[in-house]
Every structure is written in structure tokens, then in C-alpha cells.
């Protein structure tokens, strides 16, 4: 399996998704060799040791870091202390680092070397940066290729897409034996925007990892205020400005509300500016990038979680919020809205309706409670085990199809 990030060294949902998926797959008896481009310097080859020390990654047969500069979301850099390299230092704001394509090539060469040391049945690659490597590997070994799409160019570059990335994606989709999309939303993009044969595209919805929570965190920072939260990279894809506009309408209506913004990204300065412009500086609290327990606490202290994404192939954060006992309002332009029913759904641009929903959830405790309990019951069915079973079926189909 080729990926580009893995917890705890992840900046986005992709690492979380890969973690959940590989864990569930290995529970089904599969052996996975997970190759990532680069691990942070301080852990480098000691990486496995670190894993054993604290985090449960034992289900992975191998976790192989390769030294390469790939950092797919350049925009998310200011937030992460862990992934430091040359790209970060060059303060040139582009969606991807300036050397990204060289890095992608470098990665694909290294993958070939690594592959020599292992025996495997098929290649499964996550998102475009790994596609060239995956294609090369396919050509070299003749093993079937499965490409997993967590996001396409159309999700990342809302304003304009990078034609070079588009080309890599398109070539990958054409070479792949099967394309796995995380939602019907993404599947449609692949078919319509890349002109791919619909029969090759399968949907495997993401799951969510539910820790064994006997009870939710009981945290209160603002005892007299309602709390509305936003969690995610602060980039155009995630729709942070729609959140701010909705916050303005809500706070005009209910004075005692605080808005938490967790995450960081290239639009952070713009977001802060807009907050100041609207006179919301005392109401909107920026927490920076958080993970693990701290993130759980953010969810738990929220009365409602909002995901206003402009384009979200899946979107795992609402499920995390629900797992922490928080009702959610999600954008209709998301894959998760295909699988989640016990939530409120809104078009990301309809900030007035979004605000109306926020107000309703805050004001009507029966609504909050019903959403909370029903959604919590519902997400037990949206798990990685189901995703892994579906994927296993696809693997078997591909391998049998090859004779």
C-alpha cells in the first residue's frame, strides 16, 4: 500500500483514513506493507520503535518511510511542527510546494527499490502523489493496481485546478484496474471530469474509529455560552469563511455563543481578518491545530459541530464529532452526507440556513438530544470493518479476474 501520511504524523483526514482502513483490513487477515514518502527527521528509522512505544500500529506488517520531500498540502504547513523540510522554508504560497513534482518522481523511484525487498499480490495507492509510483510499480511487477481516491484536483483547487496534477490523476485512473472512490460524490467527479469508464469505479465509504468511550469528556471552558465549532484545514476547500458569515448571523440572534476554530491553513489570515471586520473577535476563538484527546475535548465541549465544506470527498470529522456526543451540521457537498442521516444538511453557500440550523440546535434541547442519540447509534454502522469487507471483495474480484 502506498500512502503519504500516517498517524500520528498526519495533517489531514487521509492519514486517519489509512490508519482505520489498514487496521480493519489486517483484522480480516490481510498483510499490508505501507510505504510513505518521508517520516520526520527526529524519528526517521527509529520510527517503528516510536510506534511500539505508544501508539498501536502493530497490525501493520511494515511501516516504511522513504526520504522524500513530499508534502502534499503545502498550504497546511504553518500548523505542523512535525513535517519540516525545505518546502516549508520557501515562503512561496502555492497549493503545492515548488518541488512537488520532483518529489513525486523521487518517491516513485524509491518505491521501486523498496518493492524489490517484498513479495505482494496487489498494489493499492492513496491519492495522486503516489500514483506515478504505483504505475511504475505496476509496469515493473505486473501486479494489479487499485487506486484509492480520497480527494481529486476538483476538491482541492476550488478556484482552478492544476493541469499537471490532473494529468497524473487521469493517467493513473486509466492505468488502474479498479478505482475506489470514498463517495458517490467523488465517483461522479471521476466519471464526469476524467471521462473514466463507470464500471471501473467502485464506492467504498469511509468509516470512523470509535474509541471505547464509556462517557464523553466533560469539559467546559465557557460555562455561560453555547459553543459552535469548526474543525479542519483552513483552506478554501473547507469553507471557513462561510462559517464566519454564519457565525455573524447567529451571534446577532443569540448573544452568548462562542465559535471555536480548530485547525490551520493558508486562509487563516483571511479568516482572522473577516472575523475582525465583522466585530466577532471576542466570539471566535482560534485554537490552532489539535489532535487526539485535545481534539476530542473540542468536540465534546461543542453544542454543535459545523462542516461547511465547499467540496468534501468524504469528510470524517462529523463522525468524530458524533462519536464525542455532538450533533452535526454538514455541507451537502460532501461524501459523508451520503451515509449520515441523523444530522442537518445544508448547501455550503446558504449561510442563512446554516445559521438557522445552528440557532435551532442551540435553542431546542430536544433537537440536540435526539440528533445526538440517533447519530451516535447510527455511526456504529459506519465503521471501517464494513469498508474493509467491501474492499476485500474488490481485491478478490481483481485477483480472480486476473486468473
Amino acid at each position: 500500500m502506498l500512502g503519504w501520511e500516517f498517524p500520528p504524523y498526519n495533517v489531514g483526514g487521509l492519514g486517519t483514513a489509512c490508519y482505520g482502513l489498514t487496521k480493519a483490513l489486517s483484522a480480516l487477515g490481510l498483510k499490508i506493507i505501507f510505504v510513505v514518502p518521508k517520516a520526520p527527521d527526529e524519528f526517521d528509522y527509529d520510527f517503528l520503535k516510536v510506534v511500539n512505544a505508544g501508539i498501536d500500529l502493530e497490525h501493520l506488517e511494515q511501516y516504511i518511510p522513504i526520504n522524500s520531500g513530499i508534502v502534499p498540502y503545502y498550504e497546511s504547513f504553518p500548523s505542523t511542527k512535525i513535517l519540516r523540510n525545505d518546502i516549508v522554508k520557501s515562503k512561496n504560497f502555492q497549493l503545492y510546494g515548488p518541488h512537488i513534482f520532483e518529489e513525486v518522481n523521487l518517491f516513485s523511484d524509491k518505491v521501486l527499490n523498496v518493492a524489490n525487498n517484498f513479495d505482494f499480490d496487489l498494489i493499492h495507492a492513496h491519492d495522486w502523489m503516489t500514483y506515478p509510483a504505483a504505475i511504475k510499480l505496476k509496469h515493473k511487477t505486473g501486479k494489479p493496481l487499485i487506486l484509492h481516491i480520497h480527494a481529486t484536483s476538483f476538491d482541492r483547487g476550488v478556484i482552478g485546478i492544476d493541469p499537471r496534477v490532473y494529468d497524473i490523476e487521469k493517467r493513473g485512473f486509466e492505468e488502474a484496474d479498479v478505482i475506489v472512490a470514498v463517495s458517490e460524490f467523488t465517483m461522479r467527479t471521476v466519471i464526469e471530469k476524467y471521462g473514466i469508464n463507470p464500471e471501473k469505479v467502485k464506492v467504498v465509504h469511509n468509516g470512523v474509529l470509535l474509541g471505547n468511550k464509556d462517557k464523553f469528556y466533560d469539559v467546559k471552558i465557557f460555562p455561560n455560552d453555547y459553543v459552535v465549532s469548526f474543525v479542519g484545514r483552513i483552506t478554501i476547500q473547507k469553507g471557513p469563511l462561510y462559517f464566519v458569515e454564519a457565525a455573524k448571523i447567529v451571534s446577532d440572534f443569540i448573544p452568548n455563543v462562542k465559535f471555536l476554530v480548530t485547525g490551520s491553513g493558508d486562509m487563516l489570515p483571511q479568516m482572522i481578518n473577516r472575523v475582525a471586520e465583522l466585530g466577532l473577535s471576542d466570539k471566535v476563538v482560534f485554537t490552532g491545530f489539535l489532535r487526539g484527546k485535545e481534539l476530542d475535548k473540542i468536540y465534546a465541549m461543542s453544542d454543535v459541530y459545523v462542516m461547511p465544506s465547499v467540496s468534501e470527498p468524504f469528510g470524517i470529522t462529523p463522525l468524530e464529532a458524533i462519536a464525542n456526543g455532538t450533533p452535526v451540521i454538514i455541507s451537502k457537498q460532501s461524501g459523508v452526507s451520503e451515509v449520515l442521516r441523523n444530522c442537518l444538511k445544508v448547501d455550503y453557500w446558504d449561510v442563512e440556513k446554516m445559521a438557522n440550523y445552528i440557532i435551532a440546535v442551540l435553542k431546542y434541547s430536544e433537537l440536540r438530544d435526539t440528533l445526538k442519540t440517533h447519530a451516535f447509534m447510527e455511526i456504529t454502522n459506519i465503521n471501517w470493518d464494513n469498508a474493509a469487507k467491501k474492499l476485500l471483495g474488490i481485491y478478490e474480484e481483481v485477483l480472480n479476474g486476473r486468473g
Binding site: 448571523i249 444530522c343 442537518l344 438557522n356 435551532a360 435553542k363 431546542y364 430536544e366 435526539t370
Partner: protein, 526 residues
């Protein structure tokens, strides 16, 4: 020559069921007949009827009456005293016709500013759409059946809010209904005007709505309802009492398994305590048409007239209560499923087989009740549970219902007509049905009928509207209080100091300005 003498012994005992000690003195009927016996008899009957011997088949086919009916129908029919031996089923078709006033996307920001709660455009569209797909073609079909077969009979129940919407949006459809109902073989049932759940919360409001409905039916159709059906066939022992006091002759409800046990719904029963006659829905035969007709996964699909009538032939009882939504025809079951053709050919076949049709009020006159039905807990015709969980199974529904009835006293005391009307329209059961979250087992039905995106949205609209209703009440109360205060304070004017004088004039001014804005708004509405 040898003479052959065939002798068949035919006998089945009445097997005693598991009769518990707690039942002694309580359950008399059960000694006479019981489920097991019926089942075994049925089984044996089937076995023999499948054999080739026509003699055996005739002898054992269910019951002697059946045998007679098959062999001697002409003879029996000619003889009035023996006529009752003929095994004849009377079909009691009752169609529910109702459409709620659906709420519009009423947002928190509308509270206190906008008193238009209902989505006029959507409601008009739906009335027009369903008119075209169901009401008009089905009315025409029923009219032709009534004209063609003098024995054919049907019964309707119209909610008041449905008739109001027809007047508003589809007067042509209303005329079509009027024409149909004029026919002597069409009966109309009584219900609550607003298709509400008032019975569960306020008997006073319930009675008012039933009276309003009776008045409306008389006005529109010139007929008087004699038999009562509560919203969604919600029923318990007390409902029969109330309906009796209101002058109805009988009550219609669901033939739920858990109230009937082994007993058949195909007889007239009476309610516990009040002895009010009850007509119970045969939900199997009803749902075969209403829900399963177009279901290709159903093993009996496609349902033909012959098959359906053959089931009816096998059934025991005197009256088959087939109750369903009128929208079954053309709206729930689309025209291309063949539902109209089915209904078109059904009466002919039934009449050929010696069956007949009946209306509820005729049924309770013709047949004596065979036993008592005790319903201490509420039942309804909804979902697999046949209880009231479709309207009251989550915190949102409980709260919304409780809140809407909590303001009854205020609304009535204030005497504001439009306030009362809005409050009542919000009582329509559909609003609470749309908030149902029982998705996981039988959610499909709920989803199909939900005009909102989710139960949560239904709740949000409703509660926002409720907040506005409350603000209106508060405003009216303030106004009223001020009006009532004025004369008294005026008397004291000379004695009082200037300060309070100022206050009063302020108050009066405020109330005046409010009334002013109201007038403008009501003008806009018109």
C-alpha cells in the same frame, strides 16, 4: 350385484387452547372457538380440496354453509329465510382523504416578523398533482362503478383541512367529490376537522374539532356522518365513550392483532364499557392493496382480481373492512401498476361470487356484535407496531405536541380568529409524523411521505413557528391587558401624579401602533 355404500366420517373436535387461570371468568368466547381448531380445520380443508374427489371437496370445504352456498345458491336466494346461510361477505371500502397544510422553511429570523407559516405554493402544487393523478381519475372510476352496479358502495372520510385546501386550490376537484358523494351508496365518516391528535391531549378541543367537522361536511356535502373514525384510527376504550356521547353510532379502528388475539376482524364487535359497535380494519386484505400491490418482491405479485377474490372466498366472517388512504390509487400505487384496472374489475367478480358491499352504518345495523374488544392502550393503523409511536417516539415529538397543546387556554381566551386557525392547523398529525426518527426498521414509508429533508428540519420549522405563535399570544395579551386597564386608570386621573399619567399614554400609543402595523399585514395577506 354388489351395492357400494360410501361412508365418510367427518369430525374435528374443538381443541381447547392454553387457557390460563387468570382468564377464568374473563374470557368466555375463547372456550367456544379457538385459533388452533380453526387452523387445523383449515389445513384439513385445504388438503382435501386439493384432491380430485369433488364429493370430498364439497363435503369438507370449510363449513356446511359454504357447501350449501356452492350447491344451492339459486335455491337459497329464492328462499328469504334461508338466505343467511349463504356465505356472503360484505365488503366495506373506506377511503381516507387528507392533505396537511405543510409548513414552509420558517427560519429563526422570521420569528416575530412573519406570520405566514404554511407553504402555499407547495400545498397548492401537491393538491393539484394528486388531483390529477388520483382524485379525479379515481372519482370518475368509482362513479362509473356506482352507476353500473347498484350493489356497489363506498365510504369516505375527508379531513376539514383537505376540504379547505380543495376550495382554495382545486375547486374543480371538490365538485367532483360532491357529485360522487351525492350518490346514495356513498357514506361519509366523522373525524376531527384538523386531522389532529387532540384526543390525546385535550378532550375539549377534540370535541370542538369533531363538531366543526360535522358542520363542514353538512355544508359541503349535505350528508351527516354517523360513524366516527379518529385520526390515523387512533383508538382506546374511552374514545368509544366520547364518540357515543357525540351521537355517533359506531367507531372504526384498526383490527390490530394484539387486541383481537385469535379473533377475526371480519365481524362487528363492541367496545368495552360503552358497548359501542366497532368496525375493525382487516389489515391483511387492506394492505395487500394499499402497500403491497406493486411490490415485486412480494410472493403474491402481481395481484390479480381472481387471486384477491379467491382469498376472500376462503375467509370466515361477514364483513371485510378494507380501509386505506385514497391516495393509494394513482399516488402511492402509480397508474402503471394496474391499480385502477384492479379496482375497475373487482366489483364485478365479487358480485359474481355472491359477495356484496356495505357501508359502516349499514353494517352495524345489519349485524349484531359478536363479542367485546378491550383496548386499554392506544392503537392506530400506523407502522408495524400499530401504536402511536409514529407520532410520539422521540423527544422532539413529545415536546412539540406538549408545547402546542400547552397554549390552548391562551389561544381560546384571546379569541383571535386567525391565531386560533393557525394554532389548529399546527395540530395536524402529519407535522409530528414528519418528525419521526423510526428510520431503522420501517423508515421507508416515513421517508416517502416526508416533504422535509429530515425529521430534524420538520421539528425546526415547527418550533420556530411555535415561537412566533407565542410572541403573537404575548402581544395580544399585552394589548388586551392594556385595554382592560384603561377605564379604571382614567378615573384616577385627577388624583394620580403626572408620572403615571405619562406611562399610560405611552402604553396606549404603543398598543395603537401595534394595531396599526397589524392592519397593514392583514392587508398584505389578502
Amino acid at each position: 350385484m354388489v351395492e357400494v355404500n360410501f361412508y365418510f366420517q367427518v369430525h374435528q373436535p374443538y381443541r381447547v387452547r392454553d387457557f390460563r387461570v387468570f382468564e377464568i371468568g374473563k374470557n368466555i368466547d375463547s372456550l367456544n372457538q379457538n385459533n388452533k381448531t380453526a387452523k387445523i380445520n383449515k389445513k384439513i380443508g385445504k388438503k382435501f380440496s386439493s384432491s380430485r374427489s369433488s364429493l370430498v371437496r364439497y363435503l369438507l370445504d370449510k363449513a356446511p354453509t359454504k357447501l350449501m352456498s356452492r350447491l344451492f345458491i339459486p335455491f337459497f336466494q329464492a328462499h328469504p329465510k334461508l338466505k343467511e346461510f349463504v356465505k356472503k361477505h360484505y365488503l366495506n371500502f373506506y377511503f381516507q382523504v387528507h392533505q396537511p397544510y405543510r409548513m414552509r422553511d420558517y427560519r429563526a429570523f422570521d420569528i416575530g416578523k412573519n406570520h405566514g407559516y404554511f407553504d402555499e405554493k407547495k400545498n397548492a402544487e401537491i393538491i393539484k398533482k394528486v388531483s390529477k393523478k388520483c382524485y379525479l381519475p379515481m372519482n370518475a372510476l368509482l362513479m362509473s362503478l356506482l352507476e353500473k352496479y347498484p350493489e356497489f358502495k363506498v365510504t369516505f372520510s375527508f379531513s376539514g383541512v383537505f376540504l379547505d385546501q380543495l376550495e382554495q386550490y382545486a375547486p374543480h376537484t371538490l365538485e367532483s367529490f360532491k357529485k360522487l358523494v351525492k350518490h346514495k351508496n356513498v357514506e361519509i365518516l366523522g373525524e376531527t376537522y384538523y386531522h389532529s391528535l387532540a384526543y390525546l391531549y385535550s378532550i375539549e378541543e377534540f370535541v370542538e374539532q369533531v363538531k366543526l367537522h360535522t358542520k363542514k361536511i353538512k355544508e359541503v356535502f349535505g350528508k351527516e356522518p354517523k360513524v366516527f373514525r379518529n385520526t390515523e384510527l387512533i383508538y382506546d376504550n374511552n374514545l368509544a365513550k366520547v364518540a357515543q356521547k357525540l351521537g355517533f353510532k359506531a367507531v372504526i379502528t384498526e383490527g390490530a392483532d394484539h387486541i383481537l388475539g385469535w379473533r377475526s376482524p371480519n365481524y362487528v364487535y363492541y367496545a368495552k364499557d360503552s358497548k359501542m359497535p366497532l368496525l375493525l380494519k382487516n389489515y391483511r386484505l387492506s394492505d395487500d392493496i394499499a402497500f403491497r400491490f406493486s411490490n415485486r418482491a412480494w410472493k403474491e405479485w402481481p395481484l390479480t382480481v381472481d387471486k384477491y377474490v379467491s382469498w376472500i372466498n376462503q375467509i370466515d366472517g361477514v364483513i371485510l373492512n378494507l380501509f386505506m388512504d385514497y391516495e393509494t390509487f394513482g399516488e402511492h400505487q402509480w397508474k402503471d401498476t394496474g391499480i385502477f384496472d384492479f379496482m375497475k374489475h373487482l366489483p364485478k367478480k365479487l358480485l359474481e361470487e355472491g359477495h356484496g358491499f356495505i357501508t359502516p352504518s349499514e353494517a352495524v345495523e345489519k349485524f349484531e356484535p359478536v363479542g367485546e374488544v378491550d383496548v386499554p392502550h392506544l392503537i392506530s393503523w400506523a407502522d408495524i407496531e400499530r401504536d402511536i409511536s409514529a407520532w410520539r417516539s422521540n423527544a422532539m415529538q413529545d415536546s412539540a405536541l406538549e408545547k402546542i397543546y400547552s397554549i390552548e387556554k391562551d389561544v381560546k381566551e384571546l379569541g383571535d380568529k386567525s391565531l386560533l386557525e393557525d394554532w389548529r392547523k399546527l395540530q395536524t398529525s402529519d407535522h409530528f409524523y414528519y418528525m419521526c426518527t423510526k428510520y431503522f426498521s420501517d423508515g421507508d414509508v416515513h421517508k416517502y411521505f416526508n416533504p422535509y429533508e429530515s425529521p430534524y428540519e420538520a421539528f425546526i420549522f415547527f418550533m420556530n413557528i411555535f415561537q412566533d405563535l407565542k410572541e403573537r399570544i404575548n402581544a395580544l395579551k399585552r394589548e388586551k391587558a392594556i385595554q382592560e386597564l384603561e377605564p379604571e386608570e382614567m378615573l384616577d386621573k385627577d388624583k394620580s401624579d403626572k408620572k403615571s399619567d405619562k406611562k399610560i399614554t405611552k402604553k396606549v400609543k404603543r398598543s395603537k401602533s401595534k394595531r396599526g402595523t397589524k392592519k397593514i399585514k392583514s392587508k398584505v395577506k389578502v
